[in-house]
Symmetry: C2
Subunit: 296 residues, 2 copies
């Protein structure tokens, strides 16, 4: 059985959502595909290598198998991963692979899990691997769509396209979230106030996105990026990329945990085309309505 | 008669103080000298040129003369300005020249003004020229010292030295303050939250400065700079200078209204020396206890 699940994109509010502030996220039209077939032992093959249950090389898939075995005691499976989502780049590749594997396991071994159960299981896997996690990524990989979180109110983004530039620097969610938490330990009032400000950016962005008020979305991208930099999740290479994009007239920010990963940008068509010429790892994504699904 | 008055430096909280948040400022050991002698007409000579009463070329001095004439009806004066403070760079050159001129006029024409009256007069001049102004710069030029504002509680900074780098780009307080006000009109809740955050940075900086906790002061400089960028008062050239300073291990931020002007930095001695080699317009300043005074 083959299942696929979409990646995701933070438009506004990453990190602040950990502190119960509003954020805006969307599933995107990049998917991870998991092919599962019955087998006596576990065999996981992905661009990272071919392994058995392996909590170092394939932590999300291995933990997904453990969680799945709590409902169906399987002895083995052949799991083959193909993903359109660049890994460790803030685009939700980990949750997409987790959800896709769980869905394909469910279908192959006829466990009759609901999507709600798959989401809950993927959420546990996120915690198994990362120790922390808001559940946002598994939620989007499972259900698709565009959402205001943490309330999980749906948002209609229309036909908007986002420029994504992969910085080529890995982004590790756990490290970044811990880094912010430790900055907050030293300067609790400062960081809480910055988190408040990020939350206000997200709140202001909701009507701007609904009304396609690009001038405002541009401003709010810029402000959000400065606030992300304030909490220590940007870096010089990213700052320079964003400065170059701004020179082209593109408003851009980190998307996801930061420290690396991807930049999201919005701008006029000509500027965006120029950006794809200047930056190697540039591509476009759009919001995706559909969540996890069985393929073919 | 010759009078002199010191320039000033914002350590933390510029712009936020306009919105009643805390800021930290200090008078610095750079002075503006005003020599006043009796004469039948007004003649103002400064590095900007030689004029009579001239509200374009010498707005602060000309308005200071008008204000002084409300207490003593003089027909003329020879006013000669020599300043150690780079103009339009956020170091309080305007208020220093205003206060020095008022003090020298007072002494030359024996008006017997108190420093309180000189401060009040300088504050009016600030409003005459800029239309807005918190009175902070005239306060520091008049009284010297290091202060928490708006409460005006004194602060002991000890023997700290600050690296100052003049970006060479003029900084116009009124334009920058208006720019922030207009951003706030569009995104009131966002900008108010950022102002809150800047206020919290200043509050956290008070004990850090008192305890000479440089690690914290470094962090808070960095965060403050990001928040200044969020409210739109940084610019690419300044961002790049700050990035270069950070590479040397120096924590730096805009000081004053921004959009240009000066950068203030703190770091280890070796790093600071390197910075003065890399940047042409770099110099050191220290807190100044004495305010306006008659020279010689």
């Amino acid at each position: 059985m083959i299942a696929s699940a979409p990646g995701k994109l933070f438009l506004f509010g990453e990190h602040a959502v950990v502190y119960k502030k509003k954020a805006i996220v969307t599933a995107i039209n990049l998917r991870c595909f998991a092919k599962v077939s019955k087998r006596d032992e576990f065999r996981i093959s992905s661009p990272l290598g071919v392994t058995g249950l392996d909590f170092n090389i394939h932590p999300y898939i291995s933990h997904a198998i453990l969680r799945f075995r709590e409902v169906r005691d399987i002895r083995g499976a052949d799991i083959e991963i193909k993903s359109q989502i660049p890994p460790a780049s803030g685009l939700g590749s980990s949750s997409a692979v987790t959800v896709a594997v769980l869905k394909a396991l469910d279908a192959e071994f006829e466990a009759a899990l609901t999507n709600e159960e798959i989401y809950e299981m993927a959420r546990m896997v996120e915690l198994d691997v990362q120790g922390i996690g808001s559940g946002t990524d598994p939620f989007l990989s499972t259900y698709g769509g565009s959402w205001i979180i943490p309330d999980r109110s749906p948002l209609n983004l229309g036909k908007i396209h986002f420029l994504i530039i992969d910085s080529g620097i890995k982004s590790y969610t756990k490290e970044m979230v811990n880094g912010v938490a430790s900055l907050r330990e030293r300067y609790p009032e400062v960081i809480d106030a910055v988190m408040d400000a990020i939350g206000k950016v997200s709140e202001s962005a909701i009507p701007a996105l609904e009304n396609r008020d690009y001038d405002k979305i541009f401003d709010l991208f810029r402000i959000n990026q400065c606030l992300l930099k304030a909490i220590g999740v940007s870096r010089r290479e990213i700052d320079e990329m964003i400065a170059k994009l701004e020179e082209l007239g593109i408003s851009a920010k980190i998307t996801g945990a930061g420290g690396g990963g991807c930049i999201i940008g919005l701008g006029e068509k000509d500027a965006l085309t120029k950006a794809t010429e200047i930056f190697g790892n540039a591509f476009f994504v759009k919001p995706e309505k559909e969540g996890v699904r069985i393929e073919g």
